[in-house]
């Protein structure tokens, strides 16, 4: 088949809203964009373990401790599902990790902000996971099969996280004055960075058009940002939290909330590596990866020493009939 025919076939698959799978032909640009997007997403989940992970040992009740520990474990799991999806495109997870640590690949800049109090745990669940869900639900229909399937699983778990975060905030807002002040302070610090999670404004986002044509992106940045604001304002009202935007108000004509201008200069600074926690987040990831090298090497060495002889020619046949197959 010629490249033209392959391209037409690819285009038809996209146009009919069907999935592209790992063994299908795809344009180079699509593959590269997909790898970048999925790896970045995976890195974000792993780095995202840090701001909340800090509070596990410090959680003020055993129930909150269990919830937070399970949530951070989920995030590790999400990172793993996404790395798997990226690997179907021919990259290697260890290589992606090295690129993250070297600064070659990025992660969501939201995690470059510090988590200063326990209330941050709740606000991260409410706002950061809330924004992530807004971004991610459309990705469940991503044109690339493994990514869409990973997103379905992740979305199920993430909505649970958001509810847990919000529930913590509700409890704190019905609590002491100090708890209420903590929640308001955390909301003040995380609101604008959450809006930045949707990326630059549409008029400053050159990739959007191509990504939408490829079925990689289903909505523009501004569309998703607006949707998030519309969903979140009533949630803030129900909590009794004031969002730190004097320009926030319902616009009857548009049928949406108007909101103030995001500080895009700050956004660019943080993306460039100049945020409050950039060095710390990467430093922690590097330290874990490097100090774990001898452990991984030991496991590999042990496996090599004890490799079963039946690895190449003699391998046990895969059971044809799954119902008769062996249980573990």
């Amino acid at each position: 088949m010629t490249t033209v025919e392959l391209q037409e076939h690819f285009d038809r698959t996209i146009a009919h809203d069907r999935r592209i799978e790992p063994r299908d032909w795809m344009p180079d640009g699509y593959r590269k964009t997909m790898i970048r997007q999925i790896s970045q997403h995976a890195h974000s989940e792993i780095i995202g373990m840090q701001p909340e992970g800090y509070w596990i040992t410090r959680a003020p009740s055993l129930r909150r401790k269990a919830i937070l520990l399970a949530k951070v474990q989920d995030e590790a799991g999400h990172g793993m599902y996404l790395y798997c999806a990226a690997e179907t495109l021919g990259v290697d997870r260890a290589d992606l990790t090295r690129r993250l640590i070297s600064g070659d690949q990025k992660y969501s800049s939201i995690f470059n902000y510090p988590s200063l109090t326990f209330a941050d745990v709740g606000v991260i669940g409410w706002l950061v996971d809330g924004a992530a869900i807004c971004n991610q639900v459309p990705l469940c229909r991503s044109s690339f099969g493994p990514y869409a399937r990973a997103m379905i699983r992740i979305c199920k778990e993430e909505s649970f996280h958001q509810r847990q975060g919000y529930e913590l905030l509700m409890t704190m807002m019905r609590g002491t004055r100090a708890q209420r002040a903590m929640v308001q302070d955390a909301s003040n610090r995380w609101w604008w960075p959450s809006l930045m999670m949707f990326g630059p404004p549409d008029n400053d986002s050159p990739n959007t058009e191509q990504s939408m044509a490829w079925g990689i992106k289903r909505h523009t940045n501004d569309e998703l940002r607006q949707r998030f604001v519309d969903m979140t304002v009533p949630q803030a009202e129900a909590l009794g939290v004031t969002l730190p935007d004097p320009d926030l108000r319902w616009n009857e004509e548009r049928g949406h909330y108007d909101f103030g201008e995001v500080d895009w200069a700050e956004f660019k600074r943080v993306i460039r590596g100049d945020g409050p926690c950039n060095a710390e987040r990467i430093g922690n990831r590097r330290a874990a990866h490097e100090s774990g090298a001898w452990v991984r090497a030991a496991a590999a060495a042990h496996a090599a020493k004890h490799a079963s002889p039946a690895t190449s020619d003699d391998k046990a046949p895969m059971p044809q009939n799954a119902q008769g197959g062996p249980d573990e």
Binding site: M49, T57, R58, A59, P60, R64, M80, Q179, A288, V295
Partner: protein, 290 residues
């Protein structure tokens, strides 16, 4: 293929099943007869629950400190699972202590409001991790010992302890297996890993004797068919460790002798620092609900 098929059966679980035990407000002891068995003192039973609970609480704490620092992502998931299991055991046990001693204290009162002198754990769970080799050596010793104790505790005349032990045995079996696999991989891996895990075992050795030293509380409760004398698990422990260390090509360290003081907490540096981390937020907001 329906893309939902793969996950339906596994993710089709209630919140309770996924989150160690319950993220909701269910009473963990609901349905179980909570009457104190005759022939024992309420104080002894409460103290025993605290001992077993504190061991699990602090061991879980040490494992939680690995979150974000594990040698591989898959180990993050595994260590978090183990930490969650132990945290669940601690919650059941500390809750039980409060209902038994008449104080009505909650699991959180025990975890966050007791001072260093009031904790009743074994020193093994308190010492600070040095590296992954140490962590696996300590987890192997802890899990093997605790599994043997809980296995016998399933026959307790106290239905609550029996139920906790029953659930705990499945968990401890998995934890012991996880730690054993790692000790074997590290022992029979590279030269460097062999040294590290051997050093870890040597570091843990001085704290093993205490595990098999019977306290007065345990002796009394065992006589009444409610508790377990840990000294009775020593032979099983030795056999299990010998098997693992031999497969790991590691030398068995000289475990310390039992019979000395046991479970004497106090204002030790390690414990004070551990509790500062564990309790700081809770103590900063007295009376607050979370």
């Amino acid at each position: 293929m329906d893309t939902y098929d793969a996950y339906q059966a596994i993710t089709d679980v209630t919140e309770d099943q996924r989150w160690a035990f319950g993220a909701g407000f269910d009473d963990p002891l609901s349905g179980i007869d909570t009457t104190i068995p005759d022939g024992i003192s309420a104080d002894d039973l409460a103290a025993y629950c605290e001992m077993l609970g504190d061991d699990a609480l602090l061991m879980s704490h040490r494992l939680q400190q690995w979150v974000g620092h594990a040698p591989e992502l898959e180990e993050e998931a595994a260590l978090a699972n183990i930490a969650l299991d132990l945290l669940g055991q601690a919650r059941f046990l500390l809750a039980r202590a409060g209902t038994v001693d008449g104080s009505g204290r909650t699991e959180d009162d025990y975890a966050f409001l007791r001072g260093p002198a009031q904790f009743r754990h074994v020193r093994l769970v308190e010492i600070v991790d040095s590296d992954f080799g140490f962590a696996m050596a300590r987890l192997l010793v802890f899990s093997t010992w605790r599994l043997a104790v809980l296995d016998r505790l399933r026959a307790s005349r106290d239905p609550v302890l029996a139920a906790i032990a029953d659930k705990g045995v499945k968990e401890m079996t998995y934890h012991r297996d996880y730690a054993a696999q790692w000790v074997i991989r590290l022992g029979d891996g590279t030269e460097f890993s062999h040294q590290r895990v051997q050093a870890g075992l040597d570091h843990v050795a001085p704290f093993v004797g205490e595990l098999f030293t019977d306290s007065d509380v345990e002796t009394r409760l065992a006589a009444a068919g409610v508790g377990v004398r840990p000294s009775e698990t020593h032979a099983e422990f030795d056999a299990a460790l010998d098997a693992v260390l031999s497969a790991a090509t590691l030398g068995c360290p000289a475990w310390s002798a039992s019979g000395g003081a046991t479970r004497t907490a106090g204002h030790r540096d390690t414990l004070t620092r551990l509790l500062a981390e564990l309790q700081s937020v809770a103590r900063a907001h007295p009376g607050a609900t979370w």
